[in-house]
Each structure stands twice: as structure tokens, then as C-alpha cells.
Symmetry: D3
Subunit: 298 residues, 6 copies
């Protein structure tokens, strides 16, 4: 069916069908992890950012966290460095950490706010260093299988004041996954875990991870095995049994951190589908995988 | 084309296409005159009220003014009174004024707020008496061709404080076209003129009259002669040359009062088309007739 | 003694004697049920409304609830309907409910605010539908002796936000005893019970019922048997033993609802005595009957 | 007529007759000069202070300025000093200025606030030094007939911020007529002129001088020659022709300063009559002498 | 070393070394008792007041309480009265109380605010009577060894609202140790105890007593026996064993009242050393004696 | 003279000598350009940032703009690019602009806020893209001698809202000199000109440029030829006659833009002297060169 066929009456009807969702989420905070291929295709990127601006205009309070692994790797290669990973985490020496910060906070974050602002938002990009947003520490080797992967951090706590101050004044915060530890060392952070930690700290209504696949699938190669909904306990079980794809692991962990912190719903959806965010939020069925707290935990 | 054919991707796309309009009108005040057949058909009524609630949720500040002529006439007949009109204005004795007030402020206004509230709004119905909203006086016979039509009022001024107080707290005011003069007499008011006066006093962004016809037509019996857009001067000329249909006269006068008061755009649209409000506001082409100020007047 | 004999010095002295009471009640909320003959005599009505405006100006926060049974009955008769009562409650079909709403919310409420505003107040009339003030449900037949009296409601809860918003901005809310249930049906409510429920929900300082008799009398026909003061338990006992006059029953029940909700004093006074409200509030002795909580309940 | 004869109905009636005045002055600022015999008789003092507290409770914003000449003279005598006056102004050496400050700011001001507070107010006593309320300079000998009367000041300007801050929070400021010049010298000020200057600076609604006589009389010894009302120009003429009694001169000058500053009404009334303030404010006729601006000056 | 030798670079360095202290105390309340010789030497007084103004400008919230015993005694003598003391407390008849009030609230308090204001502050002097700041009662003879020392008060409670209101608006309150009991009698208060009570009521960060000696010394005549730090329990022990010098007793009691009320640190320092306050606050070592709560009490 | 020789009394004295300056600048906005060697030496950098934090704590509102030319050139070289300049401005192709953004907004800005926050501030780094702070356009070749130097921008206007919002909440904004034009191209900006434009837009009290030399010298190689003070006109004359050193040109232009916008004082000082900022602000003599508006222009 072609778009041209949708008449103005249908357009109005569709707007009105969004009303119950708008009402439900009015004034609520959504933390959105934006990354992967949804950041590479200009048309998809535009669609994602439009969705976020629309959320703001219909009274939802969006906070964006972004990644940028491929861009970091590319810049490393241009500078003659070879990216290395342990268990999906980037081995990060000082130079790499500096490159990660420049790419994430200096290029991708700024580009996102520039595009959001062009669409009518007032967005500000922050890293974990701004207003001491993130308290982080170097991840202990025992958390990475005994391997010291260098200047990679874990999040100790989130200082929500700056997010609240900005959101209250109508700004959309865009957070880059970089922080500094107590000794002033720049640490590279996993954006999925930053997302989960921020959602938990803000007691967000929803945390949504945009990824490149339809969600969690029982068989990664077969989209028809998508799990639409599961509980935190089930998600934990999947993690423990190694049934979750490596790239999906931190997303599921981010979901669990959010759920543990009191967020009632976590979603992993395919951000490379244009307007996937709106589809998830403004339809009954939703898309992708939703993880909910275990019964009795709320 | 059947509605069922619209897929979720198209829905999202249509939502996003509303963004520029939402952005443009964010925080702006719209005064909507609601009346005529759009109030009689339950499905249409529901659609109109949904539109108003949606406007509120996307950051527009709607104020509703409603009429109710047929309901007043019906109640008069039930009480053994015969409605009489001079130049389209109801001849109003004391009993009639009381009936008008009961029907408008006591039944229709309350029903509208009840339905709006059920849809998620916080609406409050007011008449011109509440918080002294409308300062009115009995219309002089020279304004009605020398005929004394009784307790019919004209609006001297609008005390906007109560509207501002309510809107600021998130309420939707629903205004019934009844007032009291300095001697305490209840006066029946023309809802179209109340609409124009309120829009002017609030320096609204738009005033929109919902009626039963597509707009102003050169030939009333031929919808294809619809005038899409005209200036205040052209509208005045139409009024003076008697080319405007009697029922349309007060609407055009309401538009002109609003435009004279600084409102940049006045619209007369067919409220009996479901979601006509949304169609007017959220599409480029708009529907119905738009009246704009004369050049150089702003 | 003639009024003219009171000299200016005495006037000043009397004003100053009100000071301790003004101080005591400054910033406190009073819920006043206004009804009965005090609404029929124009001079008495004027006196009651002046009292309410004065309360507002001396820093007390008045909320008015009004009835209007006789006016409803009269309008029913004009429309060819015959009022019927069961246990003092009006049997209410859909037409009757509509008439009650029109008369209460459309005529009496609006007239009261108009007069209050003329005296310098900023009053707004509300029904239970406005801003969803009252959550109500159809009264179960078992509460009315097994008889289904139709569209008569009982109050489930009071949404105080709109009252607080209005009072904070200086408005006097005037509440008509009409609501809508979850199915959207208009329900007729007992104004005395609405008064008690609102007083309880607001944790008012006082609830005062204006009626046509001096208060609760041991012998209805003998004003000298007035009970000046009794406890909630004693009032309950009077109700149970059937010693309370039928018309007084809902007032006593309204008092008890208020007291149960934490209101420290409930009064039933003769509103047909001019300025009875001021006499009650600004003198030590008070007038009418005062009901206080049982010892140990506060 | 004895007070006991006034029944409760009359009391209520009298309260209600104050309503139009309360309404008229609600939220308006009154500057009251309190001094003379009204400060010496305990019963009269109590009555004056009650009036001021009542004004606050009915929504008027009172500011009190007090004098205390006799108390200063008495303390001087106790310390072996002999009070001396030139043209009604106290010749003030350093010791005298210190005594004036101690008596006014340290005793009378504190006693007034203590009594006001006991009656339910929140009063704070200030001198011109507190928060730099009054900018003053030593009066030049040419203003006192070429005689240097020492540490007596004239008011250059009033820093209204502290008065506004206190009134906004509900406090009643009580001002003692003492200031310090740019060199830090304590200056004795004329309380009448302080009153006028403060009223002018605050654009008060009324300035009222409580004195020991009925007002300005054509013949000082004959109260029946009281001038009820005169214009600023007429008052100036009286001053210039020397027809104003010496003690009355600064009061008239205080009135003129207030009127020149935009205060619409200045009053000189007999403060030794109990509740004279209320009589002036809450009756149509008023008492004492009222001075109004010349026509065309407002 | 002469001051002239300090170059501009060193000045900047010293300012910057104050930063950690400024940061630590930003927004915190300090109650400072000012009295003794520090009030008699003009240069020292100027230094103390400069310190207080500086505290305000660097974000600390200072509240000053002052004494004035010698000035009261001197005024008594000038009026032919002979000061008498019991256990260090002034025997106070009505005349003495009046003198104390005049001297403290009328002269010393006003002079302090005038000087503070000249240095750029906005200070207001209050006594316990202003805004009913201090609730006091006549001290019972059993607290003074069975001797009735007359109109001397003890502090029942502190009404902190006026202090909070003033501080929030940027004013520095200067409190004179005078109050009025429930019967309206003026009572002389011990300024040290007022200081402790106010610090406790405000949950101040620090209470600091400026005195004429280096602090608490084991041997009063030997400054080298200064006790730099002790616990509340140790201080109590010193009091009980009579090892504290008479003049120091109320200061120690004031410290204990503050500590008991939750103030974490109380200091007794030598106010006659210029800028002792700054030295205590802006250096690590501090000066004088610090009393801290017993372990486990916070 | 060694630091250890400064005793605690002198320290207090020096603090107190800063009071008049603190008072003078309380609540005023200072825009500080930070760059050059002051950013390269860790000890100097630390001193500069401490100064800025101290300013904030003593009530001054600092806004920091930083450069980073050498760091950009270094990163270009690491990426195999050769920095080129025309008239002191960097020739900027797309890759260079991206590198500039990464280095400035992604590394230097973040490092500055991290260090400021470690010292007790709440700093946030922004580029011209955040919240659309800077509206910029590609500089026209005619402004660069007919040479197209590529993606270098000039500042059209400053959207001060975000700076005001952040400063009001206590944050210190740190601005990187990067913007995006209407077509979304990243433009490299001259940090000196950004500084001047922001100071002008905010009507700052002072704009201060930290550079590597003592100020404007008549003979660049001879510090003794420092011009302490000159007017805007004199500065313009210096620019026109080519007597200003190339590196100093944009600083002088930044000063002039600020002065033209209403800033009363512009300073160029040697930032490589530790605490030069404090020396300039907190001493009478000041350091470096001060440019003031021409007479009669304010």
C-alpha cells in the first residue's frame, strides 16, 4: 500500500488513536539507548530523532544515551591503533579512552543534539563528567574473567540532579558513555549499562534499547523465534545459560539493572526499523522484546 | 480504502508528520466554538471532544465555547413556550433566559466537561457569570433593527484572569454563552460572538468555529464554491453585501472580532466531519474557510 | 432597640471584638451547606452571601454546597412530572436527573456565584462533574430499604485538587450536588452528604449546615428544646432511635461524615436568621446545634 | 446607650456593614503614625494596637511609625539633661541622640511589637538603621531658621525593600524615627516626616496620623471648627499663613510629603479616642481631617 | 614581618587556600555570640563585623547574638543605680530590665546593624520580642541557688521562622538578649544561652563564642594551658567540678545547649584578636577551644 | 619571601581585604576566555580553575570559553594532516572541522569540567550546538582577504537562555568554540570572538582574556611597554594601524565586541601567571591591559 493512499481523515483518525498512549505516558520519563545501525543510516537516524522530539512534544520526558563503538574503532584505526575486545568489551588504554571520549562526547553527542535541535528540541549533550553525572570506577578484573581490560568503568551511582534540572526546563539530555574515576582517569563505559543505571536512578517509566535485531530471539538467526515478553527472572536465566547473543548481553543486563531499580518495563527493539520507538510506545501490541519485573517484586 | 489496511509503520509515519504542526502550536491558545450538528451526533461529538483532549496533550491550550440553540428551543417547547427569532437572534423574555441558562450551563456544559474528563482531561464548565468572566449589557434595539429582542446581551469585555488561572493549572475551560448584566439580569448571548470576544481578549493563536457546512461558500447550496481563504476586509464586504447565509453571519462576525483583537487566523470548518479539528490543525492544506487579517494590520 | 442608635464608637468596638475569632480561623477552611428557606427569601439570601464574602475577606476559606429541592420539584411540575420521595429521597428517573442538574448547576449555582461576585468575591460554580470533583455511584437499593430510587448517587470519594487550586487563587467554589457515575449517567446527590464528604476530604476546620430550624431539637415543635451541643456518638444514637426529624437526618449524617473524616466541629444552624453564619462564627456562645467528635477520637 | 444592649444580631449586622470598606482596602498599604497621648493611656494604646492587628487580618497591610517625645524628655531629665526645643524640634547633642535611640528603638518600639504580637500579629520593630531603611542627613541650619539644632536629620530617601520583604511575609513593621547619616552619626528624626516619607515611597493607599486633637481646627481651642477635608494647596496655605498649631505643623508636612509622593489620602485623627482608626477606615463619614491632592495632580 | 611585604601573588594564593573551607561551609548557618572586649575596641569591632560580612558574601549564613553587660552597668550607674550580681547573673528589677533593653536592643544592636550595613550587608536587629522570636519565662529561684534575681529569663523555645525568613532574603539577623514572658514582663537574658538556644533551634553548623580569653584554659592565668578540643562530656565534667571560670560558665553552657540540640561543633575563641573568626573558620588548625558532641551521640 | 612566613593573622587580613571586591562583583557575570599556555602547564591550569571555582563561591557568575589550537594541530598531525593558517585563522576542511570539534568539545571541554567539578563546582561543557547556543554562519571570503578558509564560522547571535538556565541553577557553563550553520555543517569558531559575543549577549560585568603575555605591549618584545588601560577607540586605532600582534588581534576584537555590546570592562591578562584572575579581580591595581568603552558611549 502506498502512503499517498492515506487520506486526511485517516490521518486524523490515527492521531486520535494515539491519545490513550499519550495520556498514559504524559509526564513520564523514558530512557532511550540509541546505537547500532540505527545511528549509521541517515534516514533511520532522522526517524529515531524525530520520534524522540515527538515524545517531548506530547509530554513525555525522553533522555537519550548513545553508543558509538564502530566510530571509535574507525578513529583508532585512522590513528594506527588496533581495536581489541575481551568478552565484547573494548580493551582500553589511555589513548583509546581519549579517542572514545572525543568520538562519543565530541562528535556523536554533539551531532545528535544538533539534529534534535534542528527538529525543534532543545537538546544538550553530556558525558558522565558533566556536573559529575556519573560516579564510576575502573572495573575490577574479576568482573571480566580475570583479564584487566584497562580503562573501562562500571557505574557506582548516578547524580540525577543535572538530569532533573535540565528536563524540568524542557531540555533533552543526550548522554555519552564516558566518565572519570576518583583519580581523574577517563573511563570508557558500556552505554547499555549507563542506560540501565540512569533509568534506575530516575525511576523511569520505561527504558528502551534500540538495537539492530528484532529483540531477543531463541534462535538468533531466526526472527520468528522472537520472545515478545519475559520476566526478569527468565531474562536472568537466559543470561546464565549463555543463550543470549554476546552483543545482546549488556542490553539485557541494562534492562535488569533498570528493573531492579524499579523501572516497570524494559524494551529491546529494532531501531533500524524507522519509527520503531513510536510503534512500541503508541500501539497496544508493541514490538520487540519486553522484560518485566518478576511477580511480587513491585 | 479500509482502515484495517493501515499498518503500524504507516501509523508511526503519520504521527511523525504531525510533529511540525505540534511544534508550531506548542503552548499556543486555541478558542474553539463547538455547536450545531457536531453536538447532536454522539459519534461526531465524541470525535470533537477527543480532538480537544488531544490538543491539550500535545501542548496546545484549548478553550471551548459551546452553543445549544436547538436544545433551548426543545426545552421551551416542552414548557409550552414558542421560540421566536428576529434576524436569527432568539427573542428572549425572562423565562426564556432562564431556560437558556439551565440548558447551556446546566446541561450541555456539564455534559461536555464530563465527557472530556472521561477522556483524560480536567475540564471545568463556566458561564459568563463565573468569576465575572463576561461583562455584558442588554443589546440595544438599534443593533437589532429597532426591535427589542429582550434579554439578549452583547459582550463589553472579557475578564481573562479566570481563564488564565485555569489553563495554567492544566484545566480546559468550557464556556456557556450566558452572562449577567450590571443589574443582575441573566442575558442570553450569541456563542459565536462570545468565542470571538474570548479569542480576542486572550490574543489566541487561532479561533475555530465548528459548523455544519464546509465553510463559507459563494453558493450555499454548492460545496464546490467554498472559499478557502479570505481577508477580513473581504469578509466584511461579504457581510455587507448580504452574501453570507444568516446562520453564518455571527460566525463571520465572531471571526472578525477575533481578528480585530489581534488573533492571526480564524477558521470556519465543518464540525460534523469526524476529527475536522485535527485535519485543520495538523495538515498543510487545512479545511474549510480561513479568514486572515488585512495586510498591514499586524 | 433600633439600629440607628448604635454609634460609630460602638461599631468600632464590635469590629474589634471579632478579632479573636478572625485570628482563630485565619486561613482555615469552612464548608457551608446552603439551602432551604434561606435560599428563598431574597433578603436572607443576600445576608447569607454577604456573610460568605466577609469570611473570605477576613482570611477564612469558604466552600459552599447548595441544594435546591423545591426548585427541582417546581420545574418537574412545570414539565408535567410528579415528584416522588422514598425516605426523604427523591425518586429519580433520567428525566428527573436531567432536570435536577439543570436547576442546580444551571440556575441556582450560577445565580449564587453571580450574587457573590457582585459583592466582591470571585466565585465559580462547579458540579461533581467539573474536573471530576466527585466520584459517585448509584446508591444500592439495600441502602434505601430495598427500594430502587433510581439515579440517586452516593459519594465514593472527593478529588480535592480542583477545590485547592481554586481556593489558593482566591476563588470561592460553589458546588451543586450533581455527579456522574463511571458509566456517564447523571446522578442526583444529597447536598448534605456532599457537604460532609467535601469537608472530610479537605480536613475542614468547620462544616456548617444552614437549615430552617434552630438546630436539633428534642421536640421538633418546641425550639426551647434545642440541643446546643452533642457528641458524634450521641448524634448517632439520636439517628438510630429515630428521634431525628426526617429532614434533619441527612444533615446529621453529613455532620457525622465530616467528623469521621477529621473535621473538629460540625454545626446545624438556622440559616433563615439573617447573618446566622457570622453569629455562629464570631461569638463565643454560637447558635444552633454543634456536634463534636467523641472524646479520644482526635 | 450601654454596650450590653447590643444584641448578637446587631453585632453581625455591624460586621457586615464593614464589608464594603474591607473590600475597598484589601491588599492596600496604610502607613500609620502612632504617638502622643494615644501612647500614654494603656487602654487607648491597647485599642490602637488592636485596630492595627485587625487591619492586618482583614487584608490591609499596615506599617506603623511611632514617636515618643515625652519619654525621651523624661529619660533626659533622669540623666540630668534639660530638653530644649527650637521651633518644636528638639536640640539634639550626641548624648541626646543616643537617648532618643534607646528610648524609641529600644523601649517603645519593642514594647509595641510585643503587644502587637500578643494580639496575634507578627510585628518587627525597625529603626532607620535596620537594613539601611532610611537614608538621612543632618538637617541644614537654613531649614531651622539659621539655628544649628544638632543631630537632627532629614530624610533623603527610603529603601523600601525591607518593608516589602517583611509585609510580603506577613510581618507588621514598626518603625522608630532614628537614622544614621553617611558618617555613621545617629540622627534624631521627626516621626511625622518619617511617616510621610515612607507612605510616599511605598505609594501607600492612606497615611494616617494619630494625634491628641480632633484634627486641624480653624480655632485650636474650639473643636467645632474642625476642618473635615481640605486640599494639599489649602493645607500649604494654612502652613504658610501660620494658622497651623506648632505641634500640627510636622503632621501637615508629613501629609503633604505623602500626597506629593502619590498617596491619594492623608488623615489626621484623634488617636486618643478608642478605635479611632477603625472609625476612620470603616465608616463613610470618617473622622478628623482629611487632606487630598489638588485637582489635576493625579 | 610587615604586611607590605606580602605581594599580590601571595594574596591570590591565600584567597585560593580558603576555597576548601568556603566550599565546606557554603549555605551553612553559623551562630556567633559577639561580646566582651571585642565590642569595646573600635578596631577589633570593625574586624569582627568585617568577618561577619565576609562570611555572608562567601555563602555562609551568619546570625549574630550580642551582649553588652558593661554598657548596661554604666547606664545603670548614670541613672544612680548600683549593679548587683548573683553567681554572675545580674539582679534585675523592672528599671534594670528596662535599661538593659534600651541599651541592648536600642543602642548596641542598632549600632551593630548600622556598621554591618555600612560594610555592605543588610542587617536587621531583633530582640526576643520581635516576631515573638524567643519564648521565655522568669528563671526559677531554684536555678539560681534559691535566690530570686528578679526579671531574668530562661529560654523555653525559639520561633525560628523569622530568622529563616530574614536569612532567606539575605538579611543578617542581629539578636539582642531581651525577651518578654507570657505576662508581658521584659526579661533580661543571658546572651550566651540565647546563642546556644538559637544555634540548637536552627540546627546550625557551628556556634562560635567570641570572648576575651584564648578559650578554656586549665589554668586561667596561663594561656599555654588552653584546651584545644574537648567533648561535651568532658565540658560537663569541667563545669561540675567547678574548674571553669565564672565568666566562662554560661559560654560553656551555651555550647552544650547547642551540641545537645544537634550542632556538630561549638567554639570559644578570643574575639579580641582581629579576624579571629576567619582564623577559626578558614584554617585547618583553628584557634581557641572546640567542643564536640560525645561519640555516638550523632 | 617564602610562603611559610605568612602567619594566620595575615591570612585573615588578606581575606578581609578582598571583601570590597567581592561585594562589588556579587551576582555579576564574568566571561573568561581560557587558552594558550595557561592550559598546558598542569599547575597553572589548576590555578586558573581554582580561581574560577572561587569566583563562583563568592557569588560571581563565571562563564568559561576555551580554545585549544595546539591540541587541534597535534591531532591533525597524528592523523596525517598538515595544519594551515591564513591571517592566523585555521584553514578548515570537513575533516579538520570534525577534529576541532572532537578535540575541543570532546576532550578539552570535558577535561575542564571534570577538573572544575573535582574542585567543588558543578560545571557543564557546551558547544555552540547544545541547545542551539550559537547561531553561526560560514565566514565570507571578503572577511578573510578574499581567501576561502573553509569551515570557519562567524557568530550571528547568541541564544542566552541555556546559559541563564544553567547559571541560575548554579552550574558553570564551559563553552567550546564550535557551532553548526543552518545547513548543519560543523564550523570551527575563534574562541576569542565567541567570548566577546557571549559577554555582549549576557551584558556581562567583565570579559577577561587569559593569554600568554602580560597584555597589549607597545613593543611586543618588551613587557615594560605594557599598556595598562586604553579606550575602545584607542584599541581600534591600534588594530587599524597594525600595531597589534597577530595573536592578539582576535582578543582585541573580542574585547571590542563585548564593549560594543555594553560590557563595561574588558581585560587581557597573562593567564600563565598563577591566579592571575584573582589578582586582576581582587586588587585595586589590576594586572594586564584593560579596555574601557569610549566616553559617552554608556
Amino acid at each position: 500500500m502506498k502512503k499517498a493512499e492515506i487520506c486526511v481523515e485517516q490521518r486524523a483518525q490515527i492521531l486520535i488513536e494515539a491519545l490513550p498512549y499519550i495520556r498514559q505516558f504524559y509526564g513520564k520519563t523514558f530512557v532511550v539507548k540509541y546505537g547500532g545501525k540505527a545511528m549509521e543510516d541517515e534516514a533511520v537516524k532522522r526517524a529515531v530523532l524525530q520520534d524522540i522530539v515527538l515524545l517531548r512534544y506530547v509530554g513525555i520526558i525522553p533522555i537519550v544515551v548513545h553508543g558509538g563503538g564502530p566510530e571509535i574503532s574507525e578513529m583508532m584505526r585512522r590513528l594506527g591503533l588496533k581495536p581489541r575486545f575481551v568478552r565484547g568489551m573494548r580493551v582500553t588504554d589511555e589513548e583509546t579512552a581519549q579517542i572514545a571520549e572525543m568520538v562519543l562526547a565530541g562528535r556523536i553527542g554533539k551531532e545528535l543534539v544538533d539534529q534534535l535541535n534542528r527538529m525543534g528540541a532543545l537538546a544538550i549533550s553530556l558525558s558522565g563528567k558533566d556536573a559529575s553525572l556519573l560516579k564510576v570506577r575502573k572495573i575490577a578484573p574479576e568482573h571480566t574473567g580475570g583479564v584487566d581490560i584497562g580503562l573501562v568503568g562500571e557505574i557506582v551511582s548516578v547524580k540525577t540532579q543535572v538530569l532533573n534540572d535540565l528536563c524540568e526546563k524542557g531540555y533533552i539530555p543526550v548522554v555519552s558513555s564516558i566518565g572519570a574515576d576518583d583519580e581523574g582517569r577517563t573511563l570508557n563505559l558500556n552505554a547499555d549499562l549507563v542506560t540501565g543505571a540512569i533509568a534506575a536512578a530516575l525511576q523511569a517509566e520505561k527504558v528502551i534499547f534500540l538495537t539492530d535485531v528484532p529483540g531477543i530471539c531463541r534462535d538468533k538467526s531466526d526472527p520468528s523465534t522472537l520472545i515478545s515478553s519475559l520476566t526478569a527472572q527468565e531474562a536472568r536465566h537466559l543470561l546464565e545459560t549463555g543463550l543470549v547473543d554476546e552483543g545482546m548481553v549488556p542490553k539485557v543486563e541494562g534492562c535488569l539493572r533498570a528493573l531492579d531499580g524499579g523501572v516497570p518495563k524494559a524494551h529491546i527493539i529494532n531501531g533500524s526499523v524507522p519509527h520503531a520507538l513510536l510503534m512500541e510506545i503508541f500501539t497496544d501490541k508493541g514490538i520487540g522484546t519486553m522484560i518485566i519485573p518478576d511477580k511480587g517484586t513491585i
